[in-house]
């Protein structure tokens, strides 16, 4: 009999600690399915961030390393340069990647590090209880932007996929969401492409997920999905952002 909704081999059967309606769990699952399909679990090393996904190492069956806040791409570089045949992926939130770790991600991308980054953009700091993130939308209320994000003083949200796509070391970048079955299918295709890009040695790859944080957005899980479709994806359009790498 064909397993229709079994647990991917690359996932443990530990229940996750994510809140109801949080899409971190779906994203884990898509990554695990791709690792299974590519048959690379035994040579994959994951790097978890500081953020709600800090315990990702409990949920994946591959080797894992916990990095300090924002430094996952640097840690990944060290691993990949030591083990060039391994498959290395970073899993990072928006605070981790686009705020404190902005330097590390830019330089890993521009060096064309052969790693895959799964970037979870939920427009807020989840783990620390809902503070403003570099991707918080203009006007969005958070615990450190109680009157709504004022771009005059707090600056503008960062479009990570677009920003990194200007770098020549980048081989593949896509922005996806998991708000509908169709979007999940597209998202999985993007994750697979990103891992393949790495395995084929083409360069740096990144998939940006627009992800929910119902708890800190103060919404129900359904409202949160809708907010991604109606609000977030206007500021952060879905799709591929890969430029054709320049030939020197």
């Amino acid at each position: 009999m064909k397993k229709v909704f079994g647990r991917p081999e690359a996932l443990t059967d530990v229940p996750t600690h994510y809140c109801p309606g949080c899409t971190h769990g779906i994203i884990h699952r898509l990554i695990a399915e791709v690792i299974d399909e590519l048959g690379v679990c035994e040579k994959t090393i994951g790097i978890s961030p500081v953020g709600c996904a800090v315990l990702a190492y409990d949920y994946f069956n591959c080797d894992f390393v916990e990095a300090s806040h924002g430094r996952a791409p640097a840690v990944a570089t060290g691993i990949k340069r030591t083990l060039p045949d391994s498959v290395v992926f970073c899993y990072q939130g928006d605070g981790d990647l686009a705020s404190i770790g902005a330097a590390e991600i830019v330089h890993a991308a521009t060096r064309g590090e052969k790693i895959t980054v799964i970037f979870v953009n939920n427009a807020i700091y989840g783990m620390t209880g809902g503070q403003m993130a570099p991707t918080t939308l203009p006007g969005q209320r958070t615990t450190t932007s109680p009157r709504g994000r004022d771009v005059e003083s707090a600056g503008h949200p960062i479009r990570v996929a677009e920003l990194l796509s200007s770098l020549s070391g980048v081989a593949y970048i896509s922005r996806v969401s998991a708000t509908s079955p169709a979007n999940v299918t597209k998202a999985k295709r993007a994750v697979r492409k990103a891992f393949e890009t790495q395995i084929e040695g083409k360069g740096f790859s990144l998939v940006e997920f627009l992800s929910t944080c119902p708890i800190n957005w103060g919404m129900s899980p359904l409202e949160a999905m809708k907010w991604i479709d109606d609000k977030m994806s206007l500021y952060y359009p879905l799709g591929d952002y890969t430029r054709v790498p320049e030939v020197g």
């Binding site: 600690h17 809140c19 109801p20 783990m127 708890i215």
Partner: protein, 192 residues
Amino acid sequence: MQEQVIFAGFGGQGVMLIGQLVTYAGMIEGANVSWMPSYGPEMRGGTANCQVVVSSTEVSSPLVTEPTSLIALNKPSLDKFAPWVKSGGLIIYNSSLIESPPERTDVRILAVPANKVANELGDLRIANMVALGAYLATTRVVGCDTVLDAMKRVLPERRHNLIPLNRQALARGIEIASVWHSRDQGEVSGAE
């Protein structure tokens, strides 16, 4: 007098609030007080508790490790904290959610069907106040009126319309405790 109490339950049951009300009321009445919450990711959907000291002398340790009273609104909290209670102390537990009483013979135990009473009053969210009423009536650590006074200061203005309902909930808790007292403090519940 030194009352050291733990209020514990699910996150969302309002244990932090009733702890704060007792602390605030203690301050208004001129006692020395401290309030110490549990915090962090484990509170998402998990258990929450706060430790309160109300004392006629300076509060030394704000951490309550040998409580004189425990108010447990759910089973995990009762299981965790019941063994901590000082011999001769008091345990009030939410008998709507906890089937069997704690296995202690050296403390006073009061069952309060807090959810049931709150439901009767039409709002499950005031179960915490029913338990608080029972606690105030049993220990008299602070006055009931002072708690209502504290509530005015703790709640934002737009929520002051909730105060009458909370007063009712407190009153029902007090009633349950007095029935229990008049039955000579056996392990019974006044409303069941």
